[in-house]
Every structure is written in C-alpha cells, then in structure tokens.
C-alpha cells in the first residue's frame, strides 16, 4: 500500500515510531570526515526527516547503528557472571539502501545460521524494522546491479523523496494505520532503484581457490597499509574479537566485550606462542576478496559482497575492490596456464 506524506506528516510518523523504536538514519556530521573540512555521512539517531541525508551515500554502513561496535556480553564478579542487558531497551527502525538491506541477509546468515544462533544478535534483530531508502541514481563506486542487490522487497517501509513530498510503500501491516493517519494521500508506490552503475564487476565462472596462488595479490603487499577501513565500512563484515576489561586493579569485577574486528589488520590471526597466518598485506587482501566473492558463496549459495562500494570510497591508498574483482579472470588464467 502506498502513501504520499508531506514533511509534517513524515515527522509525525517518526514521532509516533519513536515511542517504541530508536530511529537510526544516515546524518551529516559537518567536518567529521577523515579529510579536513569534509562532512561525514554516518548513522545516528534522528527525530525529524530533515536530519536524514537522502542525496548521498553514507560513508559508514547501517551496521554501526544496528550492531554496537563494542558490545558488552556479560559481567564478571569473582566466580559469577551476569548477562549484559540489551544495548537498547526499545526496538530499532533503521533507514537504509537496498544494498544494505541485502547485507542484513548476510548478517543473519552469519549470526543465525553459521553455527548456533547468536544470542546477542537475535536479541537486537528481533525488534528491528528496516525502511528502504530508494536510490534514484547510482552513487560513485557502487556496483549493486552486478551484485544483484539493487532491488529489495523485504522492507517494512520504503521511502523516496521527490520535491516536497515523501512517497512511502508499506509492507508492514502493523504500520498501516500509522501511515494512513499521517498521509496526504494514497497511491501506488514503487521504490526507486538503480538500473545501471558506472562501475561493473565480472566474477569469472571458473573462479576457484586456485586464484589464491596468482601473483595479482603481490602488489597489495606494499600498496595496502592494513588499516582495515575497508572492513569497518563494509555492511557485510561480521568479524569480532573478544576483550576483557576490568574496572579496578584488584581484578574482582569486569566485563567481556566483543568489538568489531578486521582481517586486514595486524593480529587478526595471532595465536599464543607467536604463530600467525597471512603476514603479508597482499595475502590479507586475497583472503578478504575471495571471501566476499567466492568462498562465502561456496558455503551459502550467494555472494557476500553487495556492491555498495564503500571500501573503494574509504581506502586511503585508493585501492579499488571492484578493480581487484575484475582482475580475478586474469588471476585464473595465470594459475591455469601455470598448471598446464
């Protein structure tokens, strides 16, 4: 069911929703980017629709709002443990793009299906609603069309801003009355979606783990500085590391946390005694790229990468993930020739 809302109507909708939900959306943080005087678009809580940035891609994904970067799992007190309360008492409403909504499916796959269900993820996931922000055009570095993530239909609401109005499609029965009360009119609405990106990727059909043996990875040994930003902006990266934290030096009370981690950063594979895998940055690049466009699919039947292009946007060394994916054909040719 579709609705047309004006600004007051949409604000009233957000106000009603905020009784039961924390509302997260991409916002502009003036001067907050890594470059001087450049704004940063990242997630924060919003009260009115004017705070939401519709005309730019967010530099960081919805993941930061959905899953805490640092999450307390439980508290220790001598021989006892106590489960930490949920980070938010209310549910969450999250505004996101189609690529990011596809990323939710990947997060669900990892946290709910890969091994036993994750208690903490389930707790946050259960009361979360997603509002799809339509994309009337492709942003820089996006390749969602080739990753098959440019369209979604598993949203609660979709929203497109056109002129002074917001066009909303509602697929969540429970929100129907709320929209009806605040709408200026009813009409059929289809969320906008990207039909063509400037950037294209081609994942070769014959791609196999043998691509790991190619020399294409070598150049990243020195180009990549292993900062891990590509992982932290990625909506599908789920890795975390445990940390124990104590409040006082007597060591009697503290907590165990998990914090988002990066397979590109030093220490990711370090074991006690000094062992580690993938010491070279090129090997880490290979591990990440093949996870996103090869081995996740081997395990789950679809690619992990959703083509948001944020890794390309953020890399301080101007390394392009999509460019690397497009070199996999050469990589396979190289290793196959070598084998013959």
């Amino acid at each position: 069911m579709g609705f047309q809302l004006n600004e007051q109507g949409f604000d009233a909708l957000l106000s009603e929703l905020s009784r039961e939900y924390v509302i997260y959306a991409p916002k502009c943080f003036a001067g907050g980017n890594t470059f001087t005087d450049v704004d940063c678009i990242r997630y924060g809580t919003v009260k009115c629709v004017r705070d939401i940035v519709f005309d730019r891609k967010s530099d960081y994904s919805f993941k930061e709002a959905f899953l805490p970067v640092s999450e307390t799992l439980f508290y220790f007190t001598e021989g006892e443990t106590r489960e930490a309360d949920a980070p938010r008492k209310k549910g969450a409403v999250i505004f996101l793009r189609s690529c990011d909504l596809h990323a939710v499916k990947r997060l669900d796959e990892m946290y709910l299906n890969n091994g036993p269900e994750d208690f903490y993820y389930r707790r946050l996931r259960e009361n979360t609603k997603f509002i799809l922000m339509g994309c009337s055009q492709s942003f820089e570095n996006c390749f969602c069309v080739d990753m098959d993530s440019s369209r979604s239909d598993n949203y609660s609401l979709s929203v497109d801003r056109k002129g002074d109005y917001y066009y909303v499609d509602c697929r969540d029965e429970s929100l129907h009355a709320l929209l009806k009360n605040n709408a200026a009119g009813e009409l059929a609405v289809e969320p906008e979606y990207v039909r063509e990106n400037k950037v294209h990727v081609h994942i070769p059909d014959n791609l196999s783990i043998q691509a790991a043996k190619s020399t294409i990875w070598d150049e990243y040994d020195s180009r990549c500085i292993a900062c891990g930003r590509c992982n932290f902006v990625c909506p599908t990266c789920t890795c975390f590391t445990m940390q124990d934290l104590f409040y006082s030096e007597n060591g009697k009370a503290g907590e165990r946390r998990r914090v988002h981690a990066s397979c590109m950063v030093d220490g990711f594979t370090d074991v006690a005694g000094g062992g580690s895998c993938r010491r070279k940055n090129g090997e880490r690049m290979r591990f990440k790229v093949l996870h996103k466009v090869y081995d996740f699919k081997q395990r789950n039947g679809y690619h992990m990468c959703v083509g948001c292009g944020r890794c390309d946007d953020v890399c301080p060394e101007y390394i392009s993930f999509s460019n690397c994916v497009n070199r996999l054909g050469d990589a396979m040719e190289e290793v196959e020739k070598h084998e013959k």
């Binding site: 799992l73 091994g115 036993p116 975390f240 590391t241 503290g254 998990r258 397979c263 093949l290």
Partner: protein, 263 residues
C-alpha cells in the same frame, strides 16, 4: 534461547605436571565429549583460549595446557585450589568409527598429542577394535615429553615409537623426526590403513607427504588444525580458512578436504 557465550565455572580436580610449562588440568565436567573437540578456557581479565580435550572420564575432562600466552600464563600462576571458566565442547572431534577395525597409525608432534590422546586411550583399552596400531610421538627433547606414564601403558597395547628431535646423554627414546619412521612402518594393507596426524604445521605437512609416499590414500588421513578463535561458534571469523570454519567444520579435517585449505 541459550546464550553460548557465558562460561560456567569448573573445578580443577587435579593437576598433572608433565614439564615445567605443560600441565594437564583435570576439570569437572559432565556431558558428552569426543576426542579432538576443544573447550574455550577463560580467566576473567586475561581472556579466553581454545584448549583441546586430552582425556575424557567419568565427571571430568582433561585439558593439557602449555604455558605460552597471556591466558595460559595466568592459569599456571594462579590455578592452586581454583577453578576455571569453560564453555564448550566445540568442534567436530575425531569420529572413532572411521578407525574401528582398521590398521591405525597415529602421528603426533609435541602438544599435538593432546587432541589424539583420546583415540590412543580408546584403542589401548579396546585392542580387539583395531587390526594393528602404531603411535609415533615426537617431542623436542626428553624434557618435553608429555604423558610419560601413559606411554608405558600404550606400549603394552600397540607399537609405540617415542622420539625426540635432539637429546643429550642416555635417553630411553629414539632420536629423530617423526617423519623418519614412516618408511619403517609395519602396515599389512597400506591402501586401507588409516592415519591421524596432529602437530605443528611443518610436522603435519611433511608427515602427510611421507604417508602419501608410502601409499596411504588421501581419504584415509585425518589432520587437526589450530587457529586463533574468539568464539568457537562460527561467528568471530578468526579461524576461517577458505569456506571452512575450523571451530565448526574442524578442527579435524579429512585430508581430502584439508589439503585444499589455504589460509
């Protein structure tokens, strides 16, 4: 819904000292455990470490711990009269039915003996369930040998080659790398014999290579991997190799699968 991350407190029932840096902690535990599985052992403030099960008994599991990092250091310093936080068991473990009735070769390097010890113990107690068994266990020096008492028992039940990389003076064991004993292995039907290889990466690589050269089939060789793990539940990503998670799909891999794993 079950919260897998919260550990339970387990009493240390006994401590068996093998070397100054390797002790076996006998931990109170009731439940089903398979050899080759592991527990996440933790000490608040110092963190968690995955430790293989080295023995399974009524109301306990043995965890053989090498003092090598932050968590294990703390365990060794302050274990007296205490308990440890555990969660698990995790991982697939060894499936004994793969080995029953067959000729079995176990090759272990250093603490790699811990995860396979359950298999050795089982077949030492059930000699009628195999048709010939050899254990080749290698350590750095005679001072590094683990489970010395058990070796006496195992020697009565199977062929045992206990070897050290180097030794000074008289020693009860042989000197040489575990791989040096592969050509001498007495195996009647090599195509159907099974082998389990666990130890440091180099030792596993060359041992498997040696076994294949002797005529063992790839499908009859099993290895066990060790990686950094933060969850043991297939979530944290640290132990992923290709499309496999060592904590879920391993740590035990048949070689046909294990040979394709590129870190």
């Amino acid at each position: 819904m079950r919260n897998e991350y919260i550990p339970f407190l387990s009493e240390i029932k006994e401590v068996i000292r093998h070397t100054p840096i390797e002790y076996t902690f006998r931990m109170a535990y009731k439940g089903t455990v398979k050899p080759g599985q592991f527990f996440e052992v933790s000490i608040p403030k110092y963190g968690e470490a995955p430790i293989s099960v080295s023995g399974i008994g009524d109301g306990y599991v043995d965890l053989t711990i090498r003092r090598v990092g932050k968590v294990t250091n703390e365990i060794f310093e302050n274990y007296a009269g205490g308990s440890l936080f555990l969660r698990g068991p995790y991982g697939n473990g060894f499936d004994l039915s793969n080995y029953r009735g067959r000729e079995i070769v176990i090759m272990a390097g250093g603490t790699g003996l811990s995860p396979v010890k359950g298999i050795v113990d089982y077949f030492a107690d059930h000699p009628q369930e195999h048709s010939g068994m050899t254990l080749i266990a290698g350590f750095k020096t005679p001072n590094d040998i683990l489970f010395l008492k058990e070796f006496a028992k195992w020697k009565r039940a199977m062929d045992v080659i206990l070897t050290v990389d180097c030794a000074e003076g008289d020693t009860a064991c042989q000197i040489g790398l575990v791989t040096e004993y592969i050509p001498e292995l007495k195996v009647k039907d090599i195509r159907n014999a099974v082998a389990v290889v666990v130890g440091p990466p180099m030792m596993m690589r060359f041992s498997v290579q040696g076994l294949l050269e002797r005529g063992f089939a790839e499908k009859n060789i099993w290895i066990s991997q060790e990686r950094k793990m933060c969850c043991g539940l297939g979530k944290c990503g640290h132990c992923k190799i290709g499309d496999r998670y060592v904590c879920l799909d391993g740590p035990v891999f048949n070689y046909t699968e294990g040979k394709n794993l590129i870190d």
